[in-house]
């Protein structure tokens, strides 16, 4: 079966520290992968998406970057976190026999 994993579930990081969030998909190959952010009390904003290894499209200029080192792995990074980077980060993949976007369980990031 196809599953998506995100970790960690929660993270508290000081301002200026680096960040690495990981997302992996199982049971499929060459999926489209996405990173979304949900700030407190707000909707979901697409940050990055990838249609293949090494292919990253950025939707919003920001303090974050993304990488796709392997077919089913998508990483969200920052060299120096800002307070405004706090939020709920969701990874998603597109694919499967029943076309649709499937979301991971999310990472709650608090920058202090």
């Amino acid at each position: 079966s196809q599953t998506i994993h995100q970790w960690p579930a929660t993270l508290v990081q000081p301002v200026g520290s680096p960040l690495s969030l990981e997302c992996t998909v199982e049971g499929t190959s060459n999926p489209n992968l996405y990173w979304y952010r949900q700030a407190a009390g707000r909707g979901l904003q697409l940050l990055f998406y990838s249609v293949g290894i090494g292919q990253i499209s950025s939707e919003v200029p920001q303090n974050l970057s993304a990488s796709r080192p392997q077919d089913r792995q998508f990483i969200l990074s920052s060299k120096k976190l800002l307070l405004s980077d706090s939020g709920f980060y969701l990874c998603a993949w597109l694919g499967g026999n029943d076309y649709g976007y499937t979301f991971g369980s999310g990472t709650r990031l608090t920058v202090v």
């Binding site: 489209n32 996405y34 979304y36 707000r42 909707g43 979901l44 904003q45 697409l46 998406y49 939707e59 969701l90 998603a92 597109l94 076309y99 649709g100 976007y101 499937t102 979301f103 991971g104 369980s105 999310g106 709650r108």
Partner: protein, 113 residues
Amino acid sequence: AQSVTQPDIHITVSEGASLELRCNYSYGATPYLFWYVQSPGQGLQLLLKYFSGDTLVQGIKGFEAEFKRSQSSFNLRKPSVHWSDAAEYFCAVDEAAGNKLTFGGGTRVLVKP
């Protein structure tokens, strides 16, 4: 600009009453349309989706949605809500079949006993 609008930020309904959540989009063609539900602190669960064909779509948990091309709307309905339906609901649009998903601002549903 292309957008997805959910006009109602909050809706409060009594348990057992009907529920309708509104969603409007502004795209040139008929995009792929989705409704997701998010419980507090959780990820998103797909309720239903519309690609083509019958404009009334049935989903999980007793939800349905109706696509109206003339109104560029995709409203979500449930005939009788349960306390467990209290959550935030997001309408989303995939403009170009696999390009990316754009979300509305969400509607938070509170259910009164």
